[in-house]
């Protein structure tokens, strides 16, 4: 009898333990086990509604504006039927005790139910101006001067549709914020002065060593009269290109060729008044492929050897911006087309022949050719060459230089009073368990 009572007691104790355990071990409802991610749905809904800044415009409108009704319709239309919402817009205040001040609210249900998720989204008024302060190239030593060849006495070739002067102007607008000194080289005489190692401006920041020189004349290169024309006349001025290569090495310049076959012609209206480039453009002389070969020889400090072999190639199909360039497109806000045609791409073989490294690929190499890159000699000096088909897109030159030097951008605060609003979209799921 005693044993039976004990067993009954044990059963009562175990039952009590089970009931107690069951009471605490509450299993979640299916909705809690496999919830729809309402926070993400809310965020992506707000992003979809703001894809062309429509939401950003509406939230700054007065509460009685008709665009609010359109927004309400769009919200109801894009959410699944079992999802209800409450969207609240707050004005962001600064210097006040209350940071957020509600300006309007939209909802399509009295209650959002027990399962809700919310996302917040900041929008800025179209009146806001975004500012940034770029780091100057050379700010921490080493160059910082940009020379843009804007020579009034030299003509361009393969810059069809533009003039060298117009390209120079655009390059100035694009790149001058990033350099300590940006100097327009107004004529070939000034170019000769630079090549002699003498400054041409009164800017305290002008420094020929480690400078960047952009040749806006396309396949033609301006040639100064006098010493350089005399010394460089050999082999249809291929020797001048050799001297340019030497000067690039001497001053550790970065020489930028914006389009086509680099150094294919030499140009000086005063020097060649009755010569033409074989295509009817006077003031210009044909150098041919020997110009680039001579430049690279000079850059590598090799003895001058006349070599008129054509070395560039035409890349089949399109060439595509490298992933590095694409990154810097977003960073600097420069958006050229990501694919281009290249009929003057430099061969990869020059890397070994002339001891060049490629620190920056503007385009991905294709079939043994590089359509655009910065080639830096292992000792000193660099060449930026864009072997693209005309007409030039100087944004690519700017992108290549910025991707090479990587100046940082310090973005300014734009959270001014009345220019930012906080949108909170809270979603609730109706029906089901």
């Amino acid at each position: 009898m005693m044993r039976t009572v004990e067993i009954l007691l044990v059963i009562v104790i175990i039952t009590g333990a089970f009931i107690t355990a069951s009471f605490f071990a509450v299993l979640p409802t299916p909705r809690q086990v496999s919830p729809m991610n309402l926070r993400r749905l809310a965020l992506t809904t707000l992003q979809t509604l703001d894809v062309d800044h429509g939401l950003s415009q509406t939230v700054f409108e007065p509460a009685n504006d008709t665009t609010w009704n359109d927004l309400k319709i769009a919200l109801s239309a894009c959410l699944p039927p079992n999802i209800v919402y409450n969207m609240t817009v707050y004005e962001v205040q600064t210097g006040a005790t209350q940071l957020y001040n509600m300006t309007n609210s939209l909802s399509n249900a009295a209650s959002l139910g027990v399962s809700t998720g919310a996302s917040s989204y900041f929008v800025a008024s179209s009146n806001v101006t975004f500012n940034f302060i770029p780091e100057k190239i050379g700010e921490h030593g080493g160059g910082g001067t940009l020379y843009i060849l804007n020579c009034s006495d030299a003509y361009g070739w393969w810059i069809t549709g533009y003039t060298a002067q117009k390209l120079a102007e655009d390059l100035y607008d694009l790149l001058s914020p990033y350099f300590q000194a940006t100097i327009m080289v107004q004529n070939t005489t000034q170019l000769g002065t630079i090549l002699n190692g003498t400054a041409i401006s009164s800017s305290p920041y002008e420094n020929i060593a480690n400078a960047v020189v952009i040749n806006t004349c396309g396949e033609a290169v301006p040639i100064p009269s006098g010493f350089y024309a005399t010394q460089g006349t050999q082999d249809s001025y291929a020797k001048y290109c050799y001297i340019l290569g030497q000067k690039t090495r001497q001053f550790n310049l970065t020489w930028a060729s914006i389009v086509g076959y680099p150094l294919y012609y030499v140009s000086n209206a005063g020097l060649f008044p009755s010569d033409q480039n074989t295509w009817g453009i006077y003031g210009m002389r044909l150098v041919g492929p020997a110009g680039l070969n001579a430049f690279l020889e000079g850059l590598d400090n090799q003895p001058y050897v006349y070599n008129n072999n054509w070395i560039t190639g035409s890349v089949a199909g399109s060439v595509y911006l490298s992933s590095e360039s694409q990154y810097y497109c977003n960073y600097y806000g420069i958006y050229p087309s990501y694919y281009q045609s290249s009929s003057r791409a430099l061969p990869t073989s020059i890397l070994t022949t002339y001891h060049l490294n490629v620190p920056t690929y503007i385009f991905d190499p294709s079939g043994g050719y590089i359509a655009g890159a910065v080639y830096r000699n292992t000792a000193s000096g660099a060449l930026l060459a864009l072997g693209l088909t005309r007409s030039p897109d100087i944004r690519l030159t700017a992108l290549g230089l910025l991707a090479h030097y990587k100046p940082r951008l310090y973005r300014s605060d734009y959270n001014a009073v009345g220019t930012s609003r906080l949108v909170i979209l809270q979603l609730g799921q109706m029906g089901g368990v």
């Binding site: 059963i11 175990i14 071990a25 979640p28 749905l41 703001d50």
Partner: protein, 401 residues
């Protein structure tokens, strides 16, 4: 003895009861893992462009899978990457003249999208790249949020068309409609058909409906196509409707190569043979882009790259070839003519979103036991889409299909 038996029986009963509770809790935990996997996987797919970054408009098989448009951030998808997904739902098409099978994303007669298996990315590859093979299966559906329905209210003199615009949960009242109306001319333009275009705009009423009237259609035998874009508060949708006078012998565009943007033009009898008589089909192709103000802008196709041509059924009759003139998304419009009064118009999107096509990609989830789903609102070339992912486990007790 009786007491001991009762004790043992009770003990066994309670062990079973406790065990069931624990088992259910473990099961719920596994289900929660699948739900978490679903939401992570969806973000992983939608928030990275894959590698190579521009694998969509190329022939390259990605080594890292993602559908984000590489030119944008956040939930914006590449229309070309989507086009390269192997459709789960469409019946594959075999074209004997190339010996290739094509993934079928067609949305009905006259709105074709066939991509060769050699160019599509299949589910097993993607599953391997995402690391879900042998552990989870999934199905991804990308469908437009805005549904634009077009139907004929009056067939001619004048043609009146009803356009209804609805979202996922509500009609889109007051939406702006921007439309392009293309009338096929079978008799002008010499041996090849041509078309004329007319543009217009309208607004939907409070029920999301609008009636469009075209007095230029005076008889029922005129072929036409109507492309309508609807937008309101940045929600953009589109649809199209066409009427043809010959629906057996027509031209079918088949994508040949994404890298070179070539499209083959096949005779329909090489795909679906309806019996004699067989007639040669002449065609005239045009490519149009959608501009920011929702009008269509023509991008000329050079004659040398296959703008016009003739195709016929049978051996020794080659297919036509044309090259899309741009890498931007647009619509390929092909007018075709069988005879002076029989012909029609065919549309093909270049970039999935330009004709609001829907794609379902992945494994079949029919009969699966526990399927976790999650959704995101995305945009594809500005068009509002909803991405829905369903995930289920392939291993474990009571969780696999």
């Amino acid at each position: 003895m009786v007491a001991l038996t009762i004790f043992l029986a009770a003990l066994l009963l309670f062990i079973t009861l406790f065990n069931q509770t624990i088992q259910t809790a473990v099961l719920y935990q596994r289900h929660r893992v699948i739900a978490s996997k679903c939401t992570d996987l969806l973000d992983n797919i939608l928030l990275n462009p894959g590698y190579p970054t521009y694998w969509g408009p190329s022939n390259v098989t990605p080594t890292n899978f993602g559908l984000q448009d590489p030119e944008f951030t956040q939930y914006r998808l590449s229309p070309f990457s989507l086009m390269r997904l192997k459709s789960l739902t469409g019946t594959p098409l075999y074209y004997p003249k190339t010996g290739l099978t094509y993934s079928n994303i067609t949305m009905g007669f006259g709105n074709f999208l066939f991509v060769p298996y050699s160019e599509v990315v299949n589910y097993s590859t993607v599953s391997r790249l995402l690391g879900t093979n042998n552990t989870y299966d999934f199905q991804l559906n990308i469908a437009p949020i805005v549904t634009v329905s077009i139907s004929e209210f009056k067939s001619s003199d004048p043609l009146i068309v009803t356009v209804s615009v609805t979202g996922k949960g509500f009609p889109l009242a007051g939406a702006t409609l921007s439309y392009c109306f293309l009338t096929v001319d079978l008799q002008g333009g010499g041996a090849y058909p041509s078309y004329t275009t007319a543009y217009g705009s309208a607004y939907t009423d409070e029920k999301g409906t609008a009636f469009l009237q075209f007095p230029q259609i005076t008889d029922d035998d005129t072929s036409y196509a109507l492309i309508v874009y609807a937008y309101s508060s940045n929600l953009i949708g589109m649809n199209y409707h066409q009427r043809v006078t010959e629906d057996r012998q027509y031209a079918i565009p088949l994508i040949d190569d994404f890298g070179t943007r070539t499209v083959l033009i096949a005779h329909s009898y090489d795909v679906h043979y309806f019996g004699p008589p067989v007639a040669e089909i002449s065609y005239n192709a045009t490519f149009v882009l959608l501009t920011e103000d929702f009008t269509l802008r023509e991008m000329p196709i050079e004659n040398s790259t296959g703008k016009i041509g003739k195709v016929n059924y049978g051996e020794g009759k080659p297919y036509g070839t044309l090259t899309i003139p741009t890498e931007n998304p647009g619509i390929l419009i092909i007018t075709y003519r069988k005879s002076a009064n029989e012909g029609g118009i065919i549309l093909m999107p270049w970039g999935l979103s330009t004709m609001a096509f829907e794609i379902t990609f992945g494994a079949d989830m029919f009969g699966k036991e526990w399927v976790a789903t999650d959704i995101r609102q995305v945009t594809v070339s500005g068009m509002a889409y909803q991405a829905k992912l369903a995930v289920w486990s392939l291993e474990g007790y009571q969780v696999k299909g």
